[in-house]
Amino acid sequence: MPEIIVKDLMKYYRQKKAVTTDKGTIKNAEVKAVDGVSFELEKGEILGVIGESGCGKSTLGRVLVGLEKPTSGEILISGTDSQALLKKDRKSFHRMVQIVFQNPFDTFDPRHTIRKILVDACKMHNIGTNEAERTEIVLNIMREAGLQPPEDYLDRYSFELSGGQLQRISILRSMLLDPSFLVADEPVSMLDVSVRADIINMLLKLVREKNATMVFISHDIATTRYISDRVAVMYLGRIVEMGKTDDILHHPMHPYTRALISNNASLDPNEKRERIPIPGEPPTPIGTGPGCYFAPRCPFAKEHCFKSYPEYQTGKDGRIVSCFEVDAQK
């Protein structure tokens, strides 16, 4: 049985003010940030979620770890319904499910030292019996993570560390509790390139060691390729294509995936990639449908694309793709 099962997950935000769109003014409009997302993950699998800003990938992450309540849908972690567990025993839920945020400087209370940040997490979850033992545990994991010598860091405040160092602490704190499910929301996008690689490798090592399942959210396609086993491409709250990383990234089928990847600049100045232009920017997901959400910007859209939302087709390589204009069997 899969470790993580997400079934038709939705998160809508109701607007208090009336919203004006090109279809007229809507009162009590709903922003459909996550609009029916389903996927399954095996134990130890890493799923990359890519898409532009506003596609709902961060909201998805927040719903998965219980920071937002889903409007509807189910999340089963090791067979347990996460909403029921959250209600019953919040602490044991957070021991199972953790998140790493984009900006480590916003993650921690600036008035807490690294010692407090890490030791308190142990204390809260009854790891170690006394202060000395907990400090020892914390020192050990810091040493393993390449923060040498760890004693130097313990009594510093978060703002006294560099972004890379603090992101290591953030990952350590999340992995301290041996979670079986980790969501990493753009964990390296604000770090310098030369430290990014080390942080990604550290994250990967920890996740593999503990055999945790991870959802890696990013807009950086190359990093996602490096880290994930499978990739899901999101557009306006829905997964438009999902499958094995290299199948999706090297042979994208959905027009949006194709455009997204063709717009990804290459490091090689001699490589000339044919860019598929998509006009405009993703709209706010208010009053979407009934047709394919991408149709208004899609270069291949036909009349029927505006009438109903395409069902998922399953391809030969196991991918799913929702588009009328592609034949997944080809």
């Binding site: 030369s194 390729r225 717009n263 600049a265 290459s266 920017e281």
Partner: protein, 323 residues
């Protein structure tokens, strides 16, 4: 004559108890209609250099050297002359276009104001027509003229900032991380627009970014900076394909590749050195996997490899035999 010649420029921030050597001995030539990318990580001095050329640095920054714009030293210009040159000869697009404008005034009005600084006698209607034409060039609808900054998305604001920088058809455009905050799709749209504009309007461009792929796809030449110093410069097809400097190589290796085999991702171990202490040898030696004794004791000069390709390394990569 070159459009811009930066000669031996050093910029030092004077702090109450120390000096921070943010930029040291940088040389750079920009010809007309040429595009140069300056890449480096945070703290490499790339933005300080650009702000120095624009004379936008705080008063505690001490600048030495020369920056010649058509042979005239920018650092020696009077305030009046500087005002004439800014926007008309050289203009800038900042990273956070959202913060570049006043939030309580309409965009059109703010652009009109800037126009009037240079040509106070132009009638408003004429300027408005011109601004709306500019909007068309950067793919913005005319309604932007009467919008407030918060009504636009990040990509649209960045386009406004670009339109603003083009208002007097400058010869030189400095883009300081101008597309960094944008999504890939919007970024490549804007980069394409800029490259078209360059061809049509004869603009030379300095592109400051930490994203090597942006430089690879939009610039002709590249300067790689580290800790305030030039590590390597030359054509992108040389520097980014067969880097000679270990730092350039390390930087390129830090990016995961999109195609080909998944190789292990390797970063550069260590941290940026303290810029208030002048290194005796090469600034990169501490983090360099190839560093030898000489690297710690002697500062490497920029050496020519071929044509306009230079590197500041005692032991350039691929030349181990003759080292």
């Amino acid at each position: 004559m070159s459009l811009l010649e930066v000669k031996d420029v050093s910029i030092t921030y004077q702090m109450p108890n120390k000096s921070v050597y943010a930029v040291q001995n940088v040389n750079l030539t920009l010809n007309e209609q040429e595009s140069v990318g300056i890449v480096g990580e945070s703290g490499s001095g790339k933005s300080t250099l650009a702000m120095g050329i624009l004379r936008l640095l705080p008063s505690n920054a001490k600048i030495t050297g020369e920056a010649l714009l058509h042979g005239e030293d920018i650092f020696k210009m009077s305030d009046k002359r500087l005002r004439e040159v800014r926007w008309v000869n050289m203009s800038v697009v900042f990273q956070k276009a959202m913060n570049a404008m006043s939030p309580v005034h309409k965009i059109g009005l703010q652009m009109l104001d800037i126009y009037k600084v240079h040509y106070p006698d132009t009638p408003d209607a004429e300027i408005k027509t011109k601004i709306i034409e500019l909007f068309k060039i950067v793919n913005l609808p005319p309604r932007v003229y009467d919008s407030y900054p918060h009504e636009l998305s990040g990509g649209m604001m960045q386009r406004v900032a670009i339109a603003l920088s083009l208002i007097f058809q400058p010869e030189m455009l400095i883009m300081d991380e101008a597309t960094t905050a944008l999504d890939v799709v919007t970024q490549s749209q804007i980069l394409d627009e800029i490259m078209d504009l360059e061809k049509n309007m004869n603009i030379a461009r300095i592109m400051i970014t930490h994203d090597v792929s942006v430089v690879a796809s939009t610039c002709k030449r590249v300067v790689v900076m580290y800790a305030g110093q030039m590590m390597e410069d030359g054509d992108v097809t040389d520097v980014l394909v067969k880097p000679k400097h270990p730092y350039t190589k390390g930087l390129l290796n830090s990016f995961p590749s999109f195609s080909g085999e998944k190789t292990e991702l390797r970063g550069i171990p260590g941290n940026l050195p303290d810029l208030s202490i002048l290194a005796k040898g090469c600034v990169f030696a501490d983090r360099c996997p190839y560093a030898k004794e000489k690297c710690f004791n002697e500062k490497p000069e920029l050496k020519t490899i071929a044509g306009n390709w230079h590197t500041a390394c005692h032991y350039p990569l691929g030349e181990e035999d003759n080292a």
